[in-house]
């Protein structure tokens, strides 16, 4: 029972991080129709920026995370305008552009920081112990911060005029434009929000897990799994699927052993997709 609860809390904490990554990924896909292969790169970038700010420049950890988030969002904004915007209707081109940007970014990080893992640690150590239940504080903090960020995104996307316009743009771009919505301001902002979320997750999570130039690949893969499971372009789908993936991983690794976790996860995804090929909240394929 105690193990069950502890694993559950860790699963929720992992689910919350996956949700943040996947919401951004699905937002970009839903609104721009772009599969952002650089998404993991923004996670890595967030980690390195937070590391540099807090461990090299001595900025307090909280401020470092906030600054890393803002910086990755700003870089995402510029990347959308400079690299993606012109080719936004060409799916293959945007895949290659984002993949290319990812390669350049990661190579730049290797050149500046080297390929070795950084010694980046979470400033708060220790665990919450209660009745034999054992939860590291870092997991709790990640869970709370990610939860707050998810709530903020939810509010932005579902409650504000800007967010409603974003969703309308994802539904049907031409109809939204005929209602006076300007795509030129919507696309870069959507990209910035998404990459900012990836940066925030990287800044927050890499000190707990690991920070080296290649941690983004696993993150991108996980985002793909979550988004396909939840339904491409669906934000509620991504949230739900992220927690399914997080909890499955946590329980499978506790009860079946680490390497079987991935196996259970992919079998589960396969089964869900056999029953619902469009994903949990997915509708039909996106219009061309």
């Amino acid at each position: 029972m105690v193990t069950f609860v502890s694993a559950g809390v860790i699963g929720l904490s992992m689910g919350a991080q996956y949700a943040l990554i996947a919401i951004g990924f699905t937002l970009i896909f839903g609104i721009l129709g772009v599969v952002n292969f650089a998404h993991g790169g923004f996670y890595v970038l967030g980690g390195y920026l937070a590391f540099t700010l807090s461990h090299v420049l001595g900025v307090p950890f909280v401020a470092a995370i906030v600054l890393a988030t803002i910086a990755t969002a700003a870089i995402g904004y510029v990347v959308e305008i400079v690299l993606v915007e012109k080719y936004v209707v060409d799916h293959l081109a945007t895949m290659l552009i984002t993949l290319g940007f990812y390669q350049i970014l990661i190579t730049a990080i290797v050149v500046f920081y080297g390929a070795e893992p950084m010694d980046f640690s979470f400033p708060i150590t220790g665990s919450l112990r209660s009745g034999g239940i054992f939860v590291p504080y870092s997991n709790l903090i990640v869970f709370v911060v990610c939860g707050a960020a998810i709530a903020a995104v939810y509010w932005l996307v579902y409650r504000t005029r800007y967010g409603i316009a974003l969703r309308a743009m994802a539904d049907d771009g031409p109809v939204a434009r005929s209602q006076g919505i300007p795509p030129a301001t919507m696309f870069p902002m959507a990209f910035a929000i998404a990459t900012g979320l990836a940066g925030l997750t990287g800044a927050l999570v890499t000190p707990m897990l690991a920070l080296d130039p290649h941690v983004g690949e696993g993150v991108l893969l996980k985002a793909f799994v979550v988004v396909i499971l939840g339904g491409m372009g669906s934000i509620p789908g991504a949230m739900l699927a992220a927690f399914i993936v997080g909890l499955t991983e946590a329980y499978a690794s506790v009860y079946l052993g680490g390497s079987k976790g991935a196996l259970v996860l992919f079998v589960l995804v396969l089964v869900i997709l056999l029953v619902r090929p469009q994903g949990i909240f997915g509708t039909e394929a996106r219009k061309a």
Partner: protein, 243 residues
Amino acid sequence: MSAAVSTLRVERASKRFGGLKVFEDVSFSVPAGGVMGVIGPNGAGKTTLINVMCGMLTPTAGRILLDGNDITGRPFHAVSRAGVVRSFQQTNTFRSVSVEENLYRALKFNRLADGESLRMDDLLDEFGLTRHLAEPSDKLPYGHQKMLGLIMTLAARPRFLLLDEPAAGLERRERSNIDRFVDHARKVLGCGVLVVEHDMDLVKRICPHILVLESGRTLAEGPPGDVLARRDVIDAYLGTSAA
């Protein structure tokens, strides 16, 4: 706004895609409150004409003037904001959300508190949409989706409406809804309306003035009774008789 009657004018407009000429040297005006029909065989350039007028495409030559102001080359959303609003041949709605949410979005995007002044509720009632407000819009019968899309264009407070085949896909008995919609747009909003349409009965009913496009040029213009009786217009539609 000038004291003179507001007009939307297309002045010597041409559109080419590379070597492909879609239309050339087309000029006409739609006055506020007026209804103009644009007809012509498939491929005559009618939808491209709307695309150029609404800002989705830039004309290769010529100008689009709204009350004498050049709006050529302004982006699509800006042309909508300026009051030249189009509808699409297919449905004009946000498919993933309910009827109510569609209307809410249209009002919200145009910073309207409600559709009161536009009397949108009257049209929702008349077209039988009021009892479907909570339903997902893409589950409605096609005719209902199409009327919802047309009603949504009103939220943008158009001064000129460009309707691309509004009756296409509607059942015959539903087509009088288009008459009713156009009438509402003219009377309540004072809109000028340009209608691209294949249903000749509808065109004759609602358009006191029509323009025939054929292979990208203006073949004829005038009242439908005169224009549709012309030999060259009949030939354009039915092919030249061998005799």
